[in-house]
Assembly symmetry: C2
Homo-oligomer: 298 residues x 2
């Protein structure tokens, strides 16, 4: 949710009954401090911060969330063991995002309080095993008794129910909220999400670190390079720096890196976060009743 | 289910309350006739035949199922319009396997009676859009009111419930039955399925026609060629002919093409088909009750 989830989206989600997260992957500590202050003005409910651990500002951001007494931190893209004591010592709950059982076991050993299972269909950074939510959720449910949050491919109440049928305790939705009113993404990006059809996103950069993004001119340049056998250094050269900011925040739809999940193909309206949550919960309850009354009894 | 689903498996599934399918992708009409006769001796319940339409024997196999009055035919890998009148004229139900909304719309226009939604996690031949079951099922549910059968990533009652929460009317399981007692696959292949961990299967041959298979020595040879930019003709040259027979039927675990789904990673026992169906239905009913009584009410 880089460039999408600032204080506006996080506080709107928390106000509507969810747990909003500020995505710190595009912020240094000074910018994050501004977002935390503004979110606290906008909601009385708890919200969390997501921290990609490979990110260059991770250490200073950890110090800030500790100082600010943020109640829950979602860590991703790295080893939670590095910082976990600092967080747990202050009573901060730590939830770690994984794409495999192997990483979940490592995170559990490190002492995390919960696990996010992120399937192959998720937008942005992704696992090398390409395990989808249908396979990953039951595999993680089998391996851990920690609270399990499913992510990747979920944008509706039916998706939430399906994830919970597979063993999840809750869901994390990115793509659906990237196309919300309160998302800080550029309007061009939000409108592009609505236009996406099946196959509109693909997984790229497997030789570097897999990323799901929209198949735009930049992505096709990467695709062509990959098809002719380009190595990691050539791909990194094409990638350059600041690509996701250029696309998601500045709205360059052909030159930017547009990270979004596969489920974007069924999203067709930009809505307020509160409306999204209301619809998801309504559909979840309806679908639950429908299954209960279902003709499919044996 | 090439080399896995002959008369033994199809009749065992039909006897246990499912709809067994004979996979004709490895048979000519004379061999299929033997399987149909044996299946009829082994069960009084209906069973169907799966026909990959790009297969060289497709035309003679269509003639045979018409002559034999097979009640339901599952077509895949091709355009159902070519043969549909021949089948429908005899009252044969036609279900077509698709990996995209685009192909489903084409099949519906051709007049099929049902659709199988096959996600990226499925074994064997796969769609170029790489749409996973979590994304494909709701997209297809939105596009068609035909009976919708979910396939790919489903090996348990919980998986079946999840698929139905997403809008499917039923499920098709391949991988789970490939590792059944009655599967005609080589015992080496069945035992290999039990050992697979996450990442044990990958999608290969994107430049030819995508196939999910076990990452064995042969697959790594393909992987290396793809990484260095090999084109379709070079890949076809490495593939050669008879690779899936060599692997699945003859049990060559390193030199053969071992087609199987991603959900193989949670399968750890070879069981009779009847026992598999009993367990799936039992788990489906339990999980349904659990969701009904769930604390996750809003």
């Amino acid at each position: 949710m880089v460039w999408c989830s600032g204080w506006k989206l996080a506080s709107a989600v928390s106000n509507a009954g969810g747990l909003g997260l500020i995505g710190s992957g595009s912020m240094d500590a000074a910018i994050l401090k501004i977002h935390i202050d503004k979110a606290r003005q906008a909601t009385n409910f708890p919200f969390g911060v997501n921290i990609p651990l490979i990110y260059s500002h991770a250490a200073e951001i950890i110090d800030l969330v500790v100082k600010e007494n943020i109640p829950v931190v979602f860590t991703s893209a790295g080893n939670p063991a590095t910082y976990i004591n600092k967080l747990k010592d202050k009573g901060i709950k730590v939830v770690h995002v994984v794409s495999s059982v192997r990483f979940a076991e490592k995170a559990e050993k490190a002492g995390v309080d919960g696990i996010v299972a992120e399937g192959f269909e998720a937008g942005g950074h992704n696992g090398i095993e390409e395990t989808t939510s249908f396979t990953l959720i039951p595999a993680l449910r089998k391996s851990t008794s920690l609270p399990l949050i499913a992510a990747g491919g979920i944008a509706t109440g039916r998706g939430m129910l399906a994830a919970m049928a597979l063993g999840a305790d809750g869901v994390q939705m990115g793509t659906r909220f990237a196309a919300s009113i309160e998302s800080s993404a550029h309007i061009n990006f939000k409108e592009k999400i609505l236009q996406l059809k099946e196959g509109g996103t693909r997984l790229y950069l497997r030789k570097v670190s897999p990323v799901r993004m929209i198949r735009n001119a930049f992505a096709i340049e990467i695709e062509n390079a990959e098809n002719r056998g380009a190595d990691a250094s050539e791909l990194l050269n094409i990638l350059g720096t600041g690509r996701s900011k250029k696309g998601i925040f500045e709205g360059d739809l052909e030159g930017g890196e547009l990270e979004i999940g596969q489920i974007s193909s069924i999203i067709n309206e930009i809505k307020p976060a509160a409306k999204i949550i209301e619809e998801v919960i309504g559909e979840y309850n309806d679908a639950r009743k429908e299954l209960r009354l279902s003709k499919y009894k044996f």
